[in-house]
Amino acid sequence: MPVPYRVLRAGEETPGTVTLELVPEHVALNPFRPGQFAMVYAFGAGDAPFSVSGMDGDRLTLTVRSAGAVSAALARARAGGTLGVRGPFGTGWDEPAGRDVLVVAGGIGLAPLRPLVRRTVAARERYGEVSVLIGARRPGELLYNGEILGWREAGARVLVTVDRPEPGWADDVGVVTNLLDRAVFDPAVTDAFVCGPEVMIRVVARELAGRGVPAERIRVSLERTMHCGTGHCGHCQLGPLLLCQAGPVVSWARARHPMSVREL
């Protein structure tokens, strides 16, 4: 059963994308880990799966891009409104165990990675190099602009590239893989975390594996049609994986083959 959560704050990230901060109206769900997802109900519109983009005690943060009936309803949510939430579901990002940390995000894929980045920069002294590579379509579609400076100040090397620059854009232009040469990491002792459009994930993961990052240490977050969240309905099947339970975060060692099979 969905648990009622109240919208504490709703802020526009970019045109069509909002970040919602939620608090439980009565009882909170079990704590979410970075990378896990929730089934979110916009009453009267339906439910859909969303990765959590932040968690702080009982509070949950979701970043939603308006693309269909449910997400559009969520994007219209305002402070004081009520949503239903089920979860937490699926696997999350493992805590980095290697010396260096490399995060690669494309578009809205930065949302599931945000809690991981925040946790990593908060414990910056535990790691060697921390690089966050972000790709977006346009400068105006970059998420969390207000936070990126803080990540840099905390010691992360944050590099940003866009496909279509706008006047005044002074950062990089091109695909996110172009940034890999300027990220500092030792492949053998790096934990990599990748989320974004599936083609981007494949290209980045292959590039990282080709540079010597062990496939088990490249984690990717995969998008499929999550529905029940409990591994019963099969909507989210990717070859041998039911991603609502075995994923969404899986290692490249497990994802590489099914992601290379047509029609999966």
Binding site: F50, V64, D181
Partner: protein, 157 residues
């Protein structure tokens, strides 16, 4: 797609790397300065040591539109290697740049004189500069970050 060294000199066998660098001189560009313009003769080329260069195309009514940026280790310019030896795009330093600069005619003459050096250079330019940028271009053509795909993340809206 396999991993490919973007750093041009790393991809060149050591003996030919030294050969190429024997033609190099140091060059600096201040932030904002033009390196070359579209359709000019491609008489020089560069390997960036630091800084960033933006490749651009002139679009009527919009001025120079940046299509890609290049960073340290990358080859700036490949039109010098192929006829008609004219730049297809323009380039400007988007921040202060330090580079190895090469006289294209001298390097082409060395390539003509030594086919093995020529083969190594041509393979390197084709793989590291042209091939890689073509693959990147094709990925961008897919407009992966566009709104057609997914809502917040995990599936149907």
């Amino acid at each position: 797609m396999t991993a490919t060294a973007r750093r041009f000199l790393d991809a060149l066998p050591a003996v030919y790397r030294e050969r190429l660098l024997s033609f190099a001189r140091d060059r600096s560009f201040t932030a904002g300065s033009r390196v070359f313009d579209e359709d000019e003769e491609a008489g020089l080329f560069w390997i960036l040591r630091s800084g960033r260069v933006a490749l651009d195309a002139q679009v009527p009514g919009r001025g120079p539109v940046v299509v890609e940026t290049l960073g340290p280790g990358e080859l700036l310019g490949w039109s010098w290697l192929f006829e008609p030896f004219r730049w297809h795009l323009g380039a400007a330093a988007s921040e202060a740049v330090e580079a190895h600069e090469f006289d294209a005619a001298r390097v082409r003459a060395a390539i003509e004189d030594d086919p093995a050096f020529g083969l190594a250079m041509t393979r390197c330019v084709a793989s590291v500069a042209i091939g890689r940028r073509l693959r990147a271009c094709r990925i961008r053509l897919l407009d992966l970050y566009g709104p057609a795909n997914g809502a917040g993340r995990r599936g149907p809206p």
